[in-house]
Amino acid sequence: MTTSQIIVILGGLALTIFIAWYFWFAPKAQTRAAVSESGAQEVAVTVKGGYTPDVIVVQKGRPVRLTFTRHESSACSEKVLFPDFNQNALLPEGEQVTLEFTPDKAGEFGFQCQMGMLRGKLIVE
């Protein structure tokens, strides 16, 4: 086995570990919803190739107001769905769309575009 072959194998191993760590094991940044004067937990989410922020922490039993603004025309992200709360909204490009609901159960709930290419997580505490 030549040196270059060994280097390629080691490189492959390192890349594999990096990919697994980066996508699965590294901790993700969480955004805690701010409570507004009206008592609702408000978060503004930008939609462009993904949801920013994509991990949102909210409290149970208090209304959540998520304002989505989509900054791309790709049809993939034209809808956002919260299947666990039976909520969905059409996001016309450049328009602010507000989704409001009260999470009545605690846990981690995904939200996503219609075909699941863009994903986020709503953590209800």
């Binding site: 699965w24 462009k48 969905n88 290419m117 994903r119």
Partner: protein, 878 residues
Amino acid sequence: MKIHDPVCGMEIDPKNAFAKREHMGQTFYFCSQSCVDQFDKNPHNYVTTSATTGFNPERTLTRIELPVSGAPLKEHSTHLESALRALEGVGEAKVNRNSGRLEVQYDAQKVDVTRLVNAVKSTGFQVGVANVKIGIENLRCASCVKFIEDELKSTQGVLNATVNIGTQEATVDYLPQKATLSQLNAAIETWGYKPRPATSDEPMDKQEEAHAREYRRLMNMFWFAAIVSLPVLLFAYPQYVPVIRDLSMETIRWAWIISAVVTLPVLFYSGQDFFTGAWASLKHRSANMNTLIALGTGAAWLYSSVAILFPAIFPEGTSEPFYDVVAVVIALVVLGQALELRAKGQSSSAIKKLLGLQAKTARVIRDGQEMDLPIEEVLVGDVIQVRPGEKVPVDGVIVEGSSAVDESMLTGESLPVSKKKGDEVIGATLNKTGAFKFRATKVGKDTALAQIVKMVQDAQNSKAPIARLADTVSGYFVPVVMILAVWTFVIWFNFGPQPQLVYGLVTSVTVLIIACPCALGLATPMSLMVGIGKGAEHGILIRSGEALQTARALNTVVLDKTGTITKGKPELTDVVTSDQSTVNSNQLLKLAASVEKVSEHPLAQAIVEGAQARKLELAEVKNFDAIPGHGVSANVEGQNILIGNLKLMNRENIVLGELEEKSKSLADDGKTPMFIALDGKAAGIIAVADTVKEDSAEAIAVLQKMGIEVVMITGDNRRTAEAIARKVGVTRVLAEVLPEDKANNIHLLQAEGKKVAMVGDGINDAPALAQADVGLAIGTGTDVAIEASDITLIKGSLKGVVTAIEVSRATMTNIYQNLFGAFIYNTLGVPVAMGALFPFFGLLLSPLIAGAAMAFSSVTVVGNANRLRGFKPKFSAR
């Protein structure tokens, strides 16, 4: 006629006046410029009023009608009236309790509409104020904001107006009685701005527009990539192309360098979505299709560029570029996305069809004036005129006139329904014969149609449990493919044939490109969307993907008897005359119906309707007497008549003879017999019964043929229940079940290991509907959004149950096909791309083919979902 200049007091002739002004409904004439200027500074000062009361009896009062709502009008209307009369300048205030309108006469100079509205609100009522957003094009100067706001506020009927320069929108609160949208637009136009043609709030239209724009954008990107691909492709395989084959190596190298340059804009224009998308998701520590395409094409371009710039660092024969992969793959995938978008547009056609049922305008009568208004401007409380052949614009109650209305689009009732004053009409139904006026009770998103649309849309976007599987897989899918690509390279590099570097790179790029997480992600939602839409087209509102999935596995259907299998309303079934009767059956029915017309008993109604159906004329009744628990007695056409049960006949000592036997057999058939005696002699029996819907038996037979056990549940006695069950072919009957025990009975069936559907009316059967695996509610009219049910059958027929199960089975089959296809595609495609076939057949996939396969796999999924649009239920074919 001479009049006075209001400023200087000079007497002038209006015809020769220097200028003329109109203010607050009064006209003023002026002698000179200076008088006009003085007036213009403060026109209010010159309006003539009585000095003592502040109320000018000479002037005609302004009259306004305001729709009010909120507190119950009956009790509080005097309070409301006096609160308004207390305002200075208000002449008369009167509440019309029937129409829910407040009529105020006021002096516009002393009090304005805003204060009237505030006074109404202070008494706890709400005023029907319309709120509208109007877009303003090219609004740039901040100072114009104020001008437009003032102009809008000074428009008659406008309560408040704000203009937001950021959103380029004016938000206006106005009284629809006084102003229309076109007047508001006109106010904006006076400042030289163009109101955006009343932006359609219809999300469907917007989405369609956005899709059309996106399609054009994708196609532009595709054509650009495709045009660049052609020469790049030719120079990528110089040995196969006739003329290029003969060019010198030097020329070809230059062609490659040019290829490197021209494929860059392909990457960053046609492939922009992949790169921005990949970067965005990378930042979120996630990966998707964009990541794979960006990595694949990016790696191909980088490798090629290094290979042609520094051929020396690569082993002999490996310094060939493959820019063709970059251009062609991007062109194909973009084309795939464009086709997918087009196919998606067709998937949502059901909603479009539903929305298409709606009328566009309504002929509203406000202040005695008929006007055509867009349907969005119709308010609750408006009186709307509908002529024959027109659509009913919103939901409401008829206040004048009568007609027959075709409600088939919403209720499935094929015969037009006759409507008179006080009857409910539903928006989107078609008025057939007469003209009528109705008062709107539900508008906008509250109408039955809007609720149906909302329900269908929500369901289309919900998730079937099966989709969770695809979700879990796709969460790991992309990183796994990336790791596989890495190891493909490592293996080809270490163990592959020469040139190893090229093989390693090409195969790992192919792996990245062929993997298609999109097909997985699309598999369920697309079919769900078409399937639920298809259900809606046939009057079946499926509330969620979960309900749809469960309905497929049903093997027991429990039907409530009253109102579900039967019409839920007694009907005349038999008229039997006794042997010694002096009258024939029609005469008997006529006499009985004449008496029952006076009675208020529910069964009486059935007899009267039965007589009317036979076109019998009813006679006059004297000495009517109801005998509680027994029946009635009366005198008709000189005969004493008794109608009632056995107890009544026994009490009156009437010999029944063979009638007693007949009544027993009628009762065995589930009917309710009533004896009739004329002048003390038994004359016959009239029987009524809750009759079975015409198509119940047929629907039940089909369900049984589908392998589903049909069970009937009812609170009725066993004899009646079994009579009905025999008629419709049901063998298992749960009779004499108390309403509160229905849910428990469903539970018992479930304990037998069955997947149970309950079909009932949504109100009495709510607990049972909720207990069942799938609850189907029969809802008609405006009462469509039935909470307890998973599926609502708006057409009232049991055939809907069959169609619902059929839709569910067809959709789920389609979803399985899609998921299977997507899984198989990826589990076969990826290993082949890695070179699994190479050791045996020497077969290796070109990245170009991989790109094509990937692009069309997702198109295939959407296309397969669209096949569902051809779904035909068993029954509509007949």
